[in-house]
């Protein structure tokens, strides 16, 4: 079989191994249903490299964030270089490479809310939680995020805590909400 060494080489090149010693992504140890969902999405797009963003969306949706081995799995499935996948995943704010907190706290920084003092709201929350916007507290309890506009300008300044919108917030009322999250 004269072609076998060549074949061995090319299959090596097509599957960049994981940086850490991890099980090969193809038969993922966890046998996770979420990886099956990823497989289906990739198959639906015929494993085309230009489906990367759609597949990343699916991964973000089913895993909550883009873990390293998920990125490697996608890179291998779509036959893309690791650095390309990482570059795309970090370019879009919608994708997160870190797990988000158990609770989410979104402050609207749209024009109306900002005029009504949501900037101060954000400052107070950042100081209370000890994190910057876009980050998650170390205990993994609260993620602090900003929104451009919620379309709720009538109740400015608005914030969304775990999916429920509350308007006309003051730094004090916002801090109260966040403190109750941290205890709960």
């Amino acid at each position: 079989m004269p072609s076998s060494p060549v074949q061995a080489q090319s299959s090596d090149a097509a599957s960049p191994p994981a940086p850490a010693a991890k099980p090969p992504a193809k038969n993922h140890a966890s046998g996770d249903r979420r990886f099956k969902a990823l497989d289906m999405t990739m198959k639906r797009h015929q494993y085309k490299p230009d489906a990367l963003i759609e597949v990343l969306h699916k991964a973000q949706e089913s895993f909550g964030y883009l873990e390293e081995d998920v990125l490697i799995y996608i890179a291998r499935g779509l036959k893309l270089p690791l650095s390309r996948v990482y570059g795309v995943a970090t370019f879009y704010h919608l994708f997160s490479l870190k797990p988000s907190g158990a609770h989410s706290c979104v402050v609207c920084l749209g024009t109306a809310c900002y005029v009504k003092g949501s900037g101060k709201l954000m400052e107070a929350l950042e100081a209370e939680l000890g994190i910057k916007v876009g980050e998650t507290t170390e205990d993994g309890k609260v993620s602090l995020m900003a929104a451009r506009c919620l379309g709720a300008c009538g109740i400015a300044p608005a914030m969304v805590v775990d999916g429920s919108v509350s308007g006309k917030q003051s730094p004090e009322s916002a801090l109260d909400k966040v403190r109750s999250l941290q205890q709960g």
């Binding site: 960049p16 940086p19 390293e68 490697i72 650095s83 996948v85 990482y86 970090t90 370019f91």
Partner: protein, 238 residues
Amino acid sequence: MSVKTLKIDDIDIAIEEGATILQAAKEAGVSIPTLCHLDGVTDVGACRLCLVEIDGSNRLFPACVTQVAEGMQIHTQTPKLQEYRRMTVELLFAEGNHVCSICVANGNCELQNVAIAVGMDHSRFPYRFPDRKVDASHPLFSIDHNRCILCTRCVRVCDEIEGAHVWDIAQRGAACYIVSGLNQPWGSVDACTSCGKCVDACPTGAIFRKGTTTSEKERDRDKLEFLVTAREKREWTR
């Protein structure tokens, strides 16, 4: 193949269809400053130094990615362009941490050469002094992100000539940086073949061979073009 005739800085030139303005200018003997252009790899129009004016349009066009058209009247050295070019170089200097006196590429640096060519002696913009990293994990080479101008030459050389695609751009906007693998230390990226093409491609001292010190960086830029002609035209002599 059809031929297009055009004028660059009042010099008549005929060149085949599909050629870029930059190629036509080279043919005509007109020099247009560039930083992200590298013979042998695709052009991306990232550095905006090759912007030219074309009569009949008030837009500026990047010469490296604009194709020639019949009857174009192109100007490459108008006061407006000279001003913009100088500004672009000033912004590049203000964006990173470019300290020539301690740089491996001092005296052999395309950013430095361009700065001299456009007459930039200082930056009118405040320096950002960004906090950037140095990755010396590779046994042969190092990358100092402080000196990087994000021209993406290393990305394209590694992808198109070597075929390893170790590099890419991570993050966005001011936070952009050249990433190796899955944001791993360069030395632990399996795809890297240690070929050193990125060192030859880098216009500044951002990627360099270990052991080189101030003003010692040398490049074999022609090697990259040689590899491309060798592959495409099967000419293995320089």
